[in-house]
């Protein structure tokens, strides 16, 4: 497609991203002078050792997590909206987050019910991500098997929603029979959290994230052809079924790993692609993919900065902030522009 130059947009957003990244790290319950933050990040030494630990072990991993989560979910949302030609599609329409939730629910809630099965309930750092990954992988396989049985792409959307309802129902049943403390533990996971990731976890997370993003750049062409519908895409020499499976796989891997490490983060995946489409006024995925990566990172960093309530001891659930902050933006954009696009 013809290249309109969006250089200015991209440069501005990149600068904004860098500024917000530093702002995010400088905010928190302990106030650290900007000079020390800069020194620490550039490999030097902060004036207090505790500051250095806070920055390197807590704030920096959290800011990086925010970027991975925000951009990853936004890319998935874009892929789903293009594949399903539906502006309401988001990364969670395939029921993948429900699968992850089911995995975590089985682990936390189920352990008291079928105690022996899970042996001891020793919650290591890895057990929740592993439970979530297994859950989302289970639902992903079911969705992909079902997707290859049906001809109509819209049916996949409905099948995904049905899997979501199914897992939600199972979680309700589990919760009904569980102790209050377990339910609370599960509930806290479902609020989402960007913190608590060790560098080792972050390494695994970013590795899988990069595979997903790399895969997305390889399917820019089929994604653009899907803008004309599947029959036209096929007549342009695109293998529709293969590319549909690739899209489903990438989305599942990305949302799966994000939900595993950060919980089910709402809203970002649905809203950011719309914000990008309105800001850039294009449907070309060559522009939209970098655009949603930048915008998703930016918005997630802002949400996280708000969630940690600067200078206070409290941290609000990130899941609430993304919706509280994001929904009004989308409503405002829609009223201003009056038209919504897939």
């Amino acid at each position: 497609m013809e290249q309109k130059s969006f250089k200015k947009h991209f440069i501005l957003l990149s600068i904004l991203l860098v500024v917000l990244f530093f702002m995010n790290i400088s905010l928190g319950s302990v106030s650290i002078p900007f000079k020390d933050i800069f020194n620490t990040l550039s490999g030097g030494i902060a004036s207090k050792e505790s500051w250095q630990t806070i920055i390197l072990q807590f704030r920096l991993p959290k800011a990086i997590t925010a970027i991975l989560v925000g951009s990853g979910l936004s890319v998935c949302g874009l892929l789903m909206q293009t594949l399903f030609r539906n502006p309401l599609a988001g990364p969670f329409v395939l029921g993948i987050s429900s699968g992850a939730s089911l995995g975590v629910a089985l682990f936390i809630l189920g352990s008291s019910l079928f105690g022996g099965f899970f042996l001891t309930n020793s919650v290591s750092n890895w057990s929740l991500p592993i439970a979530a990954s297994l859950g989302s992988f289970l639902v992903l396989s079911a969705v992909i098997i079902a997707a290859n049985k049906v001809r109509n792409t819209m049916s996949i959307l409905i099948i995904g929603l049905m899997f979501g309802s199914l897992t939600a129902a199972i979680i309700s049943v589990l919760a009904y029979f569980s102790e209050a403390s377990k339910i609370q533990q599960y509930l806290f996971w479902s609020f989402g959290s960007l913190g608590n990731l060790s560098w080792n976890e972050l390494l695994v997370f970013s590795g899988i994230y990069l595979i997903g993003i790399l895969g997305t750049t390889l399917i820019i062409k089929p994604l653009n052809s899907f803008l004309l519908g599947e029959n036209y895409a096929k007549s342009l020499g695109i293998n529709v079924k293969k590319n549909r499976n690739i899209i489903l796989l990438i989305t599942s891997i990305l949302t799966g790993v994000i939900t595993a490490f950060a919980g089910p983060i709402a809203f970002i995946g649905l809203a950011v692609p719309h914000i990008a489409k309105m800001l850039f006024f294009t449907s070309n995925h060559k522009i939209l993919i970098p655009a949603v990566i930048l915008l998703g990172s930016i918005i997630m960093l802002i949400c996280d900065s708000i969630a940690q309530l600067p200078t206070s001891e409290f941290t609000l659930p990130i899941n609430a902030i993304t919706s509280l902050f994001g929904a009004p933006i989308v409503i405002w954009l829609l009223i201003r522009k009056k038209k919504i696009f897939v």
């Binding site: 497609m1 013809e2 290249q3 030609r85 750049t217 390889l218 820019i220 062409k221 653009n224 052809s225 803008l227 004309l228 519908g229 029959n231 036209y232 096929k234 007549s235 342009l236 020499g237 695109i238 293998n239 489409k277 006024f281 294009t282 449907s283 070309n284 060559k286 696009f341 897939v342």
Partner: protein
């Protein structure tokens, strides 16, 4: 139903049975179809609603599988073309609505270059030239930067034709491109297609209800009736009284002298 006209045949069917494959019993729409379509002609597929025009075109363009029989494109079986190879031989203008998006007219036409672009869909100078030529041929230069959802039905059809032209194929198949258009715009589309056949020596296959227009403008007519499929130029088909069976005779009749359908006057 055999029509052999071997010279310059581009698309040929051999004992083709078209319809829908179902679990219990296949729904057959036409069987033993033996057509040969000539290179560089405007070919019109005529027939009443629901007779199977779209099914025939969908089968010819490999969107839908035939129940049995073979289709040959340039004497090579259609099945042996990969999707990629076929996309350089045959382009489509479909009846389905485009999904909503913010594509501009230029971008939409440029998507027709996908069979030739690299993995990241970069347009070469040659691609851009081809797109601009297609825009010129369909006379839509003034719409180039519009979003496609702003266009009228007639303009959109021209844009879709331009997209097919940009795909640079020997054959263009159009499924009822004039369905939503008034008489004036229908005629404009037909004469545009006629002009394109003359200028580019492409083969254009178009399905339509516009019998009167097709008789005057098409080089070859494929006429689908309840009983059989006729194929040939308009005057041959008129001689064969082929049009008599096209529609039930209680409201309109084919007038041989006027070479068109007229309403019964009583």
């Amino acid at each position: 139903m055999t029509f052999t006209n071997a010279k310059n045949t581009i698309l040929k069917t051999e004992n083709l049975t078209i319809g829908y494959q179902q679990k219990k019993k296949d729904k057959i729409i036409f069987s033993d179809v033996n057509l040969s379509l000539e290179k560089g002609k405007l070919i019109s597929v005529l027939g009443k609603n629901g007779i199977g025009k779209s099914t025939l075109l969908r089968t010819l363009s490999k969107v839908q599988k035939p129940i049995s029989g073979n289709i040959f494109l340039n004497d090579i079986n259609l099945n042996s073309y990969s999707e990629k190879e076929l996309s350089k031989k045959l382009s489509l203008v479909l009846t389905e609505r485009l999904p909503e998006s913010q594509l501009t007219v230029f971008e939409l036409i440029a998507l027709g270059r996908q069979p030739y672009t690299n993995w990241i869909d970069k347009l070469s100078n040659d691609d851009i030239d081809k797109v601009n030529i297609a825009i010129e041929q369909t006379e839509i230069g003034h719409l180039k930067n519009n979003r496609f959802y702003e266009l009228s039905d007639g303009q959109l059809q021209r844009v879709l034709i331009a997209r097919a032209l940009a795909q640079d194929t020997e054959i263009i198949i159009l499924d009822e491109p004039t369905a939503h258009l008034d008489m004036h715009h229908t005629l404009r589309i037909f004469s545009l297609l006629q002009k394109l056949v003359a200028e580019t020596s492409k083969t254009i296959i178009i399905s339509s209800h516009e019998v009167n227009l097709a008789i005057q403008l098409a080089d070859q007519i494929v006429l689908l009736t309840e009983k059989t499929i006729f194929s040939g130029d308009a005057s041959t088909l008129i001689e064969m009284n082929a049009f008599d069976d096209l529609f039930p005779k209680n409201i309109i009749n084919f007038n041989k002298k006027l070479q068109q359908f007229v309403i019964n006057k009583n």
